[in-house]
């Protein structure tokens, strides 16, 4: 049973870590918009615009 003396604080610490991470994420605005980010996932990553005069090599 004495293993609990280590496991209990570790478990509570992990829980506290999770809560802390969630609060940080919420305050950082991660949960403000839940509709647009799923749409961004379908975009291709063609961030360089294809040039009209000379086609990309």
């Amino acid at each position: 049973m004495s293993v609990l003396l280590i496991m209990l604080p570790v478990a509570l610490l992990l829980a506290a870590l999770g809560v802390w991470a969630f609060i940080r994420a919420a305050r950082g605005g991660q949960f403000d918009d839940l509709d647009t980010p799923p749409l961004r996932a379908v975009f291709d990553d063609d961030e360089t615009p294809p040039s009209r005069e000379s086609p990309p090599a």
């Binding site: 049973m1 609990l4 209990l8 478990a11 509570l12 829980a15 999770g18 809560v19 969630f22 609060i23 919420a26 305050r27 605005g29 949960f31 403000d32 918009d33 509709d35 647009t36 749409l39 961004r40 379908v42 975009f43 291709d44 063609d46 615009p49 294809p50 040039s51 009209r52």
Partner: protein, 820 residues
């Protein structure tokens, strides 16, 4: 436009391939097909947007759109210049500048799919000075970051416009930020309460298991101490909101559901702590933590639902125009934000625009539609020297207005003060659960005292206190506290799907009991626009009239062109201010306008029939508009505000549900009486000023214990909307009425109100059912507790089960067949 396209499609022979627009993929009207071009466009908007996309290398838009199967829509390109966005006063208020550049929020129209998001977020490729653009598809607000030194905000807005997304400055940023912060606080509370509840449960399993399989007393005490620490954390952090609510209720001496909840939490917390320190007796921290978590989940769900309704109304406010056209001494014009107008300056108002400030006409003649301001359905003729009021609409021709009063000194501004006053004096709606909570606390405390006394006599004080504490904890009305928000958010969601935005759950609850219904006439019972009620005369003339009126903005002209949309294009036309239009259509000399104007053109034998038709129209409180065609004769349109086809039926249904209906209108007695008669309403009040309406509503609210519901659309109704128990603004209403109302119906007319009232009474029945179940559970629990048969394990099982049962009941759908 769309009916034109449909016609063209019909005439296409079945064998021929239809041509689709390169940009929007919708059919191209055959008249616009260019046989030798690679790309076909259905309208100028599509051509513009395609040009911008191609020039910016943004053809990826079509790939994203096709991949996401988005609905096809024709883009709107307004071609506005957006100069008002560059005004220093506006920039100071709406643009924030930091080392990364300037950034601002713009509300965009027509954002509806993933491809729109893709395109808007690639704005930096279209406007080089823009470094970032992020849009939220739900709120349609784009946050744009740009380099203020090289790029003007008007350039950014013009670029968005040319892509088919007309931009508006997103007003109320401070309020939006505050709401976002509130949302985050709610979410964090739920998360923390959930994490604590989960961890306490783990410890509770060990403790309950230990009761059966004997646990080492040392470990038992360790677990109990940790439970206590977590439990107190839960009460003090996320649970604090209940104590705050209870203290607030005590201070204002009102009953509130937070009161019994806070009582149970406090007693549980104190008793659990005492027992933990003593090392014997029950600790209830697991039950308390679950309680806090479940209650917060319920409130969060309801908050989200209410919030999204409030958001949508707020966004509609942003769409109202905010700019005015200023004329300087030299006669050149500049568009500026409304806020920078001052008394003494001159503003130009084009036909179809709203007048930005109170003032006097200095140039031009026109007709002003004051219906939103006064309820008067007929436009008022103005000329040089006539006073005009902010918020009314200029209809016929361009005028110049010398500004006399701006902002809160205008007629609209004074009406807004009336709104503020009325909402302060309005008594809050007493909600069913709060009403019950008051009684509940008294009963539970009485039972606790009886328990203590009886058990002190039968056993000892310690046992007595234990049983009393158990009673107070287990009778916590958590099922009720969870059921009401759940039932309400289900109802609010259903209302929103039916285009009714309900800003507060209390308003919906108040609608469940029939009371006084006060209806505005113009735009509520009648169509918002004037329409042609009848026409008398030769059949060829209406087409000629519609052709002549095609480019006029006067409501009567619009009524005629709406009634006869397939009119040919006119030849030469001359506008005769204040009288009518004269010109040629298909070579035929013709004219349309006031009866006096036409009488001057008609032959003597036509005058008698003209006069008779005009008198017929006036007898019904309709306005005659005459039309004349060379060699054809004269005809008369009877124009006025016509009753919506569904109004009479809807009012009949509301009356059958027990509502007493009154019409209060700013319009003339003859018009109001005719409408009242048509829809079967006995009480009709005409010539009501905004103040009269507000006073009428306030008087009813004070005199009657039944709810007073005001339905209206105009600025003139705003005071009454704010004073009423429930204010309902209808589709197409003015900004002021949106702000003052509790409910906004996004469909025109009274008919949606019937569905809403039904939904409200269904919801009320659901809540009462939940209440009955939850109170019988509480009675059972209280009996067990008074007999001393409740321990922490029973409480931990009973409490969540009762909550789940009640939540399942709260979600029940309305019976599919409408209930009588």
């Amino acid at each position: 436009m769309s009916s034109l396209a449909a016609n063209q499609t019909d005439t296409t022979s079945p064998g021929r391939e239809q041509t689709f627009c390169t940009h929007c993929d919708l059919p191209v009207p055959s008249g616009l097909i260019e046989s030798d071009a690679d790309h076909q466009f259905c309208c100028a908007g599509c051509r513009t947007v395609y040009g911008v996309l191609y020039a910016g290398g943004l053809e990826g838009y079509y790939r994203v759109r096709d991949a996401t199967d988005a609905q096809r829509e024709r883009p709107t390109v307004t071609g506005n210049k957006y100069d008002e966005l560059d005004d220093p006063a506006f920039q100071a208020a709406a643009v924030t500048t930091d080392e990364g550049g300037a950034s601002t929020e713009l509300l965009l129209e027509n954002v509806h799919c993933a491809a729109c998001v893709w395109l808007i977020e690639r704005l930096p490729r279209v406007v080089p000075g823009v470094s970032e653009s992020r849009v939220n598809i739900r709120t349609r607000i784009a946050r744009v970051r740009y380099d203020a030194a090289s790029t003007k905000l008007s350039q950014v807005a013009r670029a968005l416009d040319s892509l088919g997304y007309p931009a508006h400055p997103a007003r109320g940023q401070a309020a939006r930020d505050a709401r976002t912060r509130e949302d985050r606080t709610y979410l964090i509370r739920v998360a923390v309460a959930g994490a604590i509840a989960g961890n306490i449960m783990l410890l509770a399993v060990a403790l309950y298991g230990g009761q059966i399989a004997s646990i080492d007393p040392l470990w038992e005490s360790v677990f109990r101490w940790i439970s206590m620490a977590l439990g107190i954390l839960s009460l003090a952090w996320p649970g604090r909101t209940f104590f705050r609510g209870a203290i607030g209720a005590l201070r204002t001496r009102t009953a509130h559901l937070d009161l019994p909840i806070a009582l149970a939490l406090a007693v549980g917390g104190i008793w659990g702590t005492i027992n933990t320190v003593r090392g014997t007796g029950e600790v209830y921290f697991d039950s308390l933590a679950i309680l806090v978590f479940l209650l917060l989940v319920g409130r969060w769900v309801q908050h989200r639902q209410q919030r999204s309704a409030a958001d949508q109304v707020g966004l509609m406010l942003t769409l109202t125009p905010t700019s005015a056209t200023l004329v300087d001494e030299g006669g050149s014009t500049k568009s500026v934000p409304i806020e920078s107008l001052v008394a003494g300056s001159t503003a130009m108002v084009a036909p179809g625009q709203a007048i930005p400030a109170d003032g006097v006409v200095t140039l031009g003649d026109s007709d002003i539609d004051e219906s939103l301001l006064t309820g008067e359905s007929r436009p008022v003729a103005v000329g040089v020297g006539s006073p005009v009021a902010a918020g009314s609409i200029n209809t016929t021709s361009m005028i110049h207005v010398r500004v006399q009063a701006v902002g809160e000194h205008t007629r609209v501004g004074r009406l807004m003060r009336l709104v503020a006053q009325a909402s302060e004096n309005k008594p809050p709606i007493v909600r069913l659960t709060d009403q019950i909570a008051g009684r509940f606390v008294q009963v539970v405390i009485a039972l606790a005292i009886v328990t203590t006394v009886v058990w002190t006599i039968r056993a000892d004080a310690e046992t007595a206190l234990g049983h009393a504490a158990a009673l107070l904890i287990i009778t916590c009305p958590c099922a009720l506290g969870l059921a009401t928000p759940m039932a309400m958010s289900v109802a609010l969601g259903r209302a929103a799907r039916n285009n009714a935005l309900v800003k507060s759950a209390a308003a919906l609850e108040a609608l469940s009991k029939p009371g006084h219904l006060i209806l505005d006439k113009t735009g509520t019972i009648t169509n918002a626009k004037t329409t042609v009620a009848r026409y008398a005369g030769p059949d060829e003339l209406p087409m000629l009239a519609a052709a002549l009126e095609q480019h006029a903005c006067h409501p009567f002209a619009r009524a005629i062109t709406d009634a006869f949309p397939e009119a040919p294009s006119p030849g030469h036309t001359t506008h005769v201010p204040g009288r009518g239009v004269r010109g040629t259509v298909n070579g035929c000399e013709c004219a349309v306008g006031s009866p006096e104007f036409i009488a001057g053109l008609a032959s003597d034998d036509q005058l008698a029939s003209l006069a008779r038709a005009c008198n017929d129209a006036r007898a019904e409180a309709l306005t005659p508009v005459a039309v004349w065609g060379e060699g054809i004769g004269v005809g008369v349109f009877a124009i006025g505000d016509t009753v919506r086809t569904d109004s009479a039926h809807a009012i009949e249904q509301l009356k059958r549900l027990g509502w007493s209906v009154t019409i209060a209108s700013g319009d003339d007695g003859s018009v109001v009486d005719r409408v009242a008669q048509q829809v079967g309403v006995d009480h009709a009040l005409a010539r009501q000023s905004p103040e009269d309406k507000a006073a009428l509503v306030s008087r009813l609210v004070n005199e009657s214990d039944r709810p007073v519901v005001m339905v209206g659309d105009g600025v003139n109704d705003a005071g009454a909307l704010a004073a009423a128990t429930v204010g309902v603004a209808v589709h197409g209403g003015a900004e002021a009425s949106l702000e003052a109302a509790d409910i906004y119906l996004n469909d025109p007319g009274v008919a949606p109100l019937v569905g809403l009232v039904r939904l409200a009474s269904h919801t009320k029945r659901t809540i009462k059912l939940c209440l009955a179940v939850s109170l019988s559970y509480n009675a059972l629990a209280a009996t067990l507790a008074m007999l001393g048969r409740i321990d922490a394990l029973t409480a931990a099982v009973l409490m969540p089960i009762s909550s789940l049962v009640v939540v399942a009941l709260a979600m029940r759908p309305p019976r599919s067949s409408r209930s009588r």
